[in-house]
Symmetry: C3
């Protein structure tokens, strides 16, 4: 299984080009677009989002992670093998939270070269062909080389900010709910928020926080758009008032 | 064939999680995202939208219907078998129009339980695994139980409101065109609208109503955005002036 | 491989209906949604966008091209075979740039008729079933007939306008970068723009032009939304100041 994780937007041709590259490179597995509307160029947000996802997917799954504002620069292209799953993407921090939280990982530099490499779309030209080769175990000796690589110091810690806002206007924070007591009060945009288990435990329009379906603290309102009610955005601070 | 019908938005991770759940649960068939931008939490709109779709899909098709504002509450999870097609979703009214218009149907309560059930994402944790088991006929005795269930009184009737607005700004009503004479005038947002067969029968920018490609009355304008011209929204009344 | 090229938007049911029609018509190949958010009804923009794509896809690929504001009118339905690839769509100009730039092409009129043809969705009712039959070579004698057809005079030339704006706010022009010197200055929205190779060659927020990943001149800014900075839109003129 290959899961695409991008800030490409949907409808745009970039996902189609990556899928075609996977297909033409012989990826003989299910390809699922896991998320395409991560906030543009926001590497820390994407890194925390990615780390929240991995436990919902099987061993052997490959995450093709293309949040790549430095495309065409000197940043390295990486393959990370962490706790039995694969990650292919740029060395810009987007893989650091996954690696820092993994029980074990190994990191590889991509030496494989495509016949043509555009300056601005390594997702299509480099990462997708490598992903296809990794899942079907067709990389030759030397096309990956073991790298002495470590995630940034402190990358395992939670991020006390909003990292993703969905279509309903709900805001995902980078805080794992397991680290916070259920009766904690949160502060976001000057509003104090209490916990609820699910939307319908509250009157319509009330805002609250809850442990979302990937284990993160999420700020929402019952059948209303919390983003517009509270006026939050990517990067807004979420504070835990004990 | 499994068809997802949701208000999840696109790009967001929810469709990806459902697809992964279908895959991991052994759904060995084509999965098509039929619609992902139904108006958030709007059960009556979704119910009428769904009912307009079914005749365009084959016998045996399964609709995985997740418009579920009451997720985590006491509402039952259902499997509906209506006129040879399957529907999996919550008992909140979203399946009522299909059932009320079917020649015959049987309804089942889902007793199957996942090993882990989040409070807010039964689409992934419950409905998708059950859908995979229904299409591949792998449910065990007792995992579904026959339910004495009836759609809400009057659910078969048309809904004289806008239920869906597409990317072009065209508004679908919940009124079946077969019940309305071709020379009828409609009233919407204070504007009187006449029928046309197709866009190009009119000058550019003219608004009109027509029988759309799923048999509903739709309000549109030739190569213009009718939503912005008329300022309509989900729930706007559409009146038939004979 | 079938690639859908549409102005349908994403999330909406139209792509799902086309995919279902392909499936029910026996298309036994990968289907990829190449682009779904082309500017609504904008045939020249779509024609230039399409022509920029073809060299990234293999011989034998079929492009199902549904930008069709004249649906239900007298415009012909076409199958174009150009340089080893297939194109199925309406005769409204959307295939003209591809044909005009091809080394060789043959054009066919579609005589095949579906059992039911809606007035407003030939993508589902006509073009998708024909596409499925073309890729699996199941068209009978007479269902296509050779047409003496030529693209519009001058269709091969570049279009000095913005033809597509992506999710990042980058604007694709209809100008092929191969025809412009690297040190050219461009004028767009009163702003003079210089070339850069990739985003990260510039300070954050600087705007520039570059040869994008499909060979077109694209106007962008490093980690900023150029559409909002420059206030451009589809059709905005891009001028080359030598």
């Amino acid at each position: 299984m290959i899961l695409t994780v991008t800030d490409f937007g949907v409808g745009s041709p970039y996902l189609g080009h990556m899928r075609s590259a996977l297909n033409q490179s012989g990826a003989d597995c299910e390809v699922i677009d896991l998320v395409a509307d991560l906030p543009p160029y926001s590497v820390p947000a994407a890194a925390h989002f990615l780390a929240s996802q991995v436990r919902y997917f099987p061993k052997g799954a490959l995450f093709l992670v293309v949040i790549d504002p430095g495309v065409g620069s000197e940043r390295l292209p990486l393959v990370l093998h962490a706790d039995g799953q694969w990650f292919v993407g740029p060395d810009n921090g987007v893989l650091d939270v996954v690696a820092a939280r993994a029980q074990q990982f190994q990191c590889y530099r991509i030496n494989w070269n495509p016949s043509t490499l555009s300056a601005t779309f390594h997702g299509r030209d480099l990462f997708a062909p490598v992903a296809a080769r990794v899942v079907s175990q067709r990389l030759q000796k030397g096309e990956l080389s073991r790298l002495e690589w470590h995630p940034e110091e402190g990358a395992a810690a939670d991020l006390s900010q909003l990292i993703y806002i969905d279509h309903y206007g709900n805001g995902f924070s980078g805080i794992r709910a397991s680290s916070v007591a259920d009766d904690s009060t949160l502060l976001c945009c000057g509003e104090r928020l209490n916990n609820a288990r699910t939307y319908s435990d509250l009157p319509r329009g009330d805002n609250f926080w809850y442990e979302n379906s990937v284990g993160l603290i999420e700020i929402a309102a019952n059948q209303q758009n919390a983003e517009r009610m509270l006026n939050f955005s990517i990067g807004t601070t979420v504070e835990i008032l004990e």
